[in-house]
Symmetry: C2
Subunit: 256 residues, 2 copies
DNA sequence: GGGAAAATACTACCATACCAGATCTTGGGC
DNA sequence: GCCCAAGATCTGGTATGGTAGTATTTTCCC
């Protein structure tokens, strides 16, 4: 299991929030393996805090659908479920399509300028070599967020963030196999131009197409990484069949 | 403040969950007044449990947007915000419209029969006198849930539940002034018939119309109950202007 | 009376201790 | 070797105490 660096206890930020951010990042970026067992005590020791803030972070993460807490048994990173991911995409598409329509009405010229600047930055890193993918995901998120907030849809953005958390793990996993970045940027451009033209129908179509493209490699990934997926027909997330992954790395427990 | 009845500590259900349900019901049904201050200690005493499970329930409720925790200051029932409620409705409409379209494809004849039975029950209590409004809200929720689950949209239903929590407080508040129940049932009927006819466009239109009708009395309510509303232009929820409502009854602190 | 400062009484936050239940290990019987 | 039971060792759930920060009240000075 990846070592977690200690948290600055003296920060003004509440410890619980620091722990939450740390763990959430580790999960969404796939540094924690889906199915992996965590433990309040173990995480607390690594971060140099008590169990209490870790426990509270666990609760929030389970509310977000990233952890599953099985009382008296353990807490596990939820495995990726194809159905769950597709359900998240379904909701995200429904919401973001509505948002982008509203953006056509409400976004200000300043908002459109922000989007153009963001898009320019996207093209800039697309020319570079691959290692800037993390940076692209940041810009990608900022692009979608700018649209939502420009459309005065703060709450809708909160929901999209939640659905994104489910989808982003797949994106990290699929970095090498996914749609080329330039293609995604071109789709962003199409969305932006439709908004700038105040054309809701075109904007909706562009956004819908974009969101359907993101997960094209999903079936391929399930084949490549069967251990990371939950193959149950029913939704859910927790490891129900077979043993959950043990703590530590898959094979050969490393001593000391 | 309404007295809370003690919780059965010996139940198999974890205490935290019991506390959560109790508080959530009290908030959504408006037994707790928006803006009202709660306190871990006070709630814990009333329910006969320790502060810990209360604190954890508070965290979950704040994640759901029903409480706001202000560190070192207090925890408050979020005031109703017109923008927040309309934002919730916006998301709910986006999601449920997509769901009802999918339902036209996927719902089974058995699912349609469930819906018809539910609708029949709705008509039955509509004939009675008013006091069965709680029962109507239950049937209403079951109706929407049956559609979502029939469309194989478990995750979407979770999101709808979250948005519903925001809207339901307004519905409780507006019982006397709201749209007549029979009108709402007729709209349910229109949705059901469109689904049964497998007509997505008609179903979408019916659902959209239905969801827009629910909150028609919102502006009127803000005028009638200004204390329960957050009049800030910006979203959010916490009491930012003026003093938050004090603990205990409005006037005259009772000495213990 | 009016206003500022000190004292008091809260708050949620974090740490710790203990518990009951689930799991894993171990040891004995065959 | 296999099987089962007893014990040790995990887990998260709950209770409680201490602390720092905030809000309120009181006190004191003018």
């Amino acid at each position: 299991m990846p070592e977690l660096s200690r948290i600055d206890v003296d920060s003004a930020e509440p410890i619980t929030r620091s722990v939450f951010r740390t763990l959430r990042t580790a999960i969404v970026s796939m540094h924690f393996q889906p199915g992996q067992a965590l433990s309040e005590q173990e995480i607390a020791d690594q971060l140099g805090v008590s169990r209490q803030p870790v426990r509270e972070a666990f609760i929030k993460l389970s509310e977000a659908g990233l952890l599953i807490i099985r009382p008296q048994r353990g807490t596990f990173v939820v495995k990726i479920s194809v159905k769950q991911v597709l359900d998240a995409r379904f909701v995200r598409e429904a919401v973001e399509v509505a948002v982008v329509r509203q953006a056509c009405d409400r976004i200000t010229p300043a908002g459109i300028m922000d989007l153009r600047a963001n898009l320019k930055a996207q093209w800039a890193i697309a020319s570079d070599s691959d290692p800037s993918s993390d940076r692209f995901l940041e810009l990608d998120e900022a692009f979608h967020r700018t649209i939502a907030l420009g459309a005065d849809c703060e709450y809708a953005w909160r929901i999209v963030e939640e659905t994104k958390a489910q989808m982003d793990r797949v994106r990290y996993l699929s970095m090498p196999y996914a749609t080329p970045v330039k293609r995604l940027i071109a789709q962003h451009e199409a969305v932006l131009e439709a908004i700038a033209a105040r054309d809701p129908a075109k904007a909706e179509a562009a956004m819908s197409l974009h969101l359907r493209e993101i997960l094209t490699s999903l079936p391929e990934l399930e084949g490549k990484f069967p251990d990371l997926f939950n193959h149950d027909v029913a939704g859910g997330g927790g490891p129900k069949t077979g043993k959950p992954a043990p703590r530590g790395r898959s094979a050969g427990r490393r001593t000391g």
